[in-house]
């Protein structure tokens, strides 16, 4: 009863750690390791996944993500500038677009592009173009909102100083404002790329040849083989982490470098 606040905090923390250890130990003992390893972490099944999981699946996931990001970034910059435009119809169009594509599941956008557009317009893009458009359309909406927040976070004085030096509106935006905004939106933008990498799994909806499989489709095909268990999906999950974790680290590195540059002394 006569404990000080600091002692109480210490005891409480000790209890929390103890509880954590108990839970971990309990899980380790409860788990059926033999089944788990043979069904989900089976080394011989894993071995069968190589090298295609890298040379085909991982490679395709990276390609789809990169294509989606290029399209999403281009669209996102355009939409963000439209939302901040002094021309009212531009603002309306951008707002409408963002609300629509942010509110609809990416799955529906893929279906619309893969099946709706060919029916309505009698055109059929190749799969890569459809992937790029679908991922780009969805991510552009999210990227636009992040960029808008970043653009608005750049002090107005920066734009005024640039204009006062004789720069045109677009020159001031490109040379002065957008580079500063990009630095601000780096963390949310990293999130965007990670979401894109995972959304690229929806490509399966378009129907693909084996050489176009990305990680999720590749894993799903493998588990339907006899006796493969869940191991291929676990491996696919690890491959996603191989993409996303370094991205997070890279973003943190750039953030720290930016902080160091603008810090005092």
């Amino acid at each position: 009863m006569a404990m000080t606040a600091r002692e109480r905090a210490k005891v409480s923390r000790g209890v929390q750690y103890g509880l954590l250890v108990v839970i971990v130990i309990a899980l380790v003992f409860i788990a059926d390791w033999n089944t788990l390893i043979s069904r989900a972490l089976n080394p011989s099944v894993m071995a069968q996944q190589f090298p295609e999981i890298i040379t085909v699946a991982l490679k395709n996931t990276l390609i789809y993500t990169a294509l989606g990001f290029v399209a999403g970034m281009s669209g996102g910059i355009l939409l963000a500038l439209m939302r901040l435009s002094s021309v009212a119809p531009y603002r309306w169009i951008a707002t409408l677009y963002i609300e629509l594509f942010r509110g609809v599941p990416a799955l529906l956008v893929f279906l619309a592009l893969g099946f709706g557009v060919p029916l309505a317009f009698q055109v059929r893009f190749n799969n890569l173009v459809t992937v790029m458009l679908a991922l780009g359309l969805v991510s552009a909406a999210y990227i636009a909102e992040s960029l808008r927040a970043g653009l608005q976070a750049v002090p107005k004085g920066q734009y005024e100083a640039a204009r006062s030096l004789g720069m045109s509106h677009s020159r001031a935006m490109i040379t002065i404002v957008i580079p500063q905004a990009l630095r601000i939106v780096l963390p949310p933008l990293t999130n965007e790329v990670i979401l894109l990498a995972k959304d690229s799994s929806l490509v399966y909806l378009l129907g693909m040849t084996v050489s176009q499989y990305e990680l999720t489709k590749f894993g799903r095909e493998a588990i339907s083989g006899s006796g493969a268990g869940l191991t291929p999906l676990v491996l696919a999950g690890v491959c996603y982490l191989v993409i996303t974790v370094p991205l997070g680290l890279l973003a943190r590195y750039f953030e720290q470098r930016a902080d160091a540059r603008s810090a005092r002394h």
């Binding site: 100083a161 006062s164 720069m167 040379t175």
Partner: protein
């Protein structure tokens, strides 16, 4: 009194005149400028003083069209900048602006701040821009800081860089919007000294300031504004030293003796 002085190396070779006639500016129902007329001769230094909210910063920002006046005419030299057909960017190229908050570009070095507009706007080569930048950095005594980031400088140093940045565009007119109001007291003097040199070199200067000693000693004329109109204007020593109008007297006594409690005016 300053327009005859000429110092070797001065860049203000063609100081421009400014002529403002019947300027009105309002935000919605709020009238900020209610018919301002003002003449600034080539090489003349004019200080705008007055209480906050009197419209002096707005007036300054109208001159390089950061604000668009609803009515009235502004001329810089023989160019009418309030003409709707005017090339705003071309006008601003001739006019240097120094802000209260410096507004240096934080993602560029000091040198980058001074060269970016020279290259992108005036089309100067990298070497040429760098040469002009270094000349102007020497002028404000900060040549050794060329490679530093703005955040590594004190407020006073940042404002001197901002002045050098504006000068690197070889302006014909310099606008100063409370350039020392955001500074630590001990760095104010350095900035004012540079502005004083600039005045001696014959630059046309329009300065919004609360530094009454600077206004009295450096300005050719002082304009006192209150409530969106020019209340009193005249030679600096007369307006600051012996103001004629009651509102000017009240304002100056409050600014010069901030601890003194006096009866509310009007």
């Amino acid at each position: 009194m300053n327009n005859t002085a000429s110092v070797p190396g001065a860049t203000a070779s063609h100081p421009a005149s400014v002529s403002i006639d019947g300027l009105h500016k309002s935000y919605g129902s709020l009238d900020v400028l209610k018919g301002i007329s003002l003449e600034v001769g080539p090489g003349e230094v004019v200080c705008l003083i007055g209480p906050s909210g009197s419209g002096k910063s707005t007036l300054l920002r109208c001159v390089n069209l950061l604000e668009t006046p609803q009515q009235g005419v502004i001329r810089i030299g023989d160019v009418e900048v309030t003409d709707p057909e005017v090339d705003i960017d071309a006008v601003r190229r001739r006019v240097g602006m120094v802000f209260q908050q410096f507004n240096l570009f934080p993602n560029m070095s000091v040198l980058g701040n001074l060269t970016v507009a020279q290259r992108k706007v005036l089309g100067r080569s990298e070497a040429e821009a760098r040469k002009t930048a270094m000349l102007n950095l020497e002028r404000v005594g900060l040549a050794e800081k060329a490679e530093n980031a703005p955040a590594q400088l004190s407020g006073g140093q940042q404002q001197r860089v901002a002045i050098a940045r504006a000068l690197s565009m070889d302006p014909e007119l310099m606008l100063f919007d409370e350039p020392t109001s955001a500074l630590d007291p001990e760095t104010v003097g350095d900035v004012l000294a540079i502005m004083r040199d600039l005045a001696k070199e014959g630059m046309t200067m329009l300065v919004v300031t609360h530094e009454m000693a600077f206004a009295r000693d450096v300005a050719d004329r002082v304009v006192f504004m209150d409530g969106g109109v020019v209340v009193e204007e005249g030679p600096a020593r007369e307006v600051v030293g012996a103001p004629q109008h009651k509102r000017t007297q009240a304002f100056l006594s409050r600014v010069l003796n901030p601890t003194q409690v006096d009866a509310p005016e009007d």
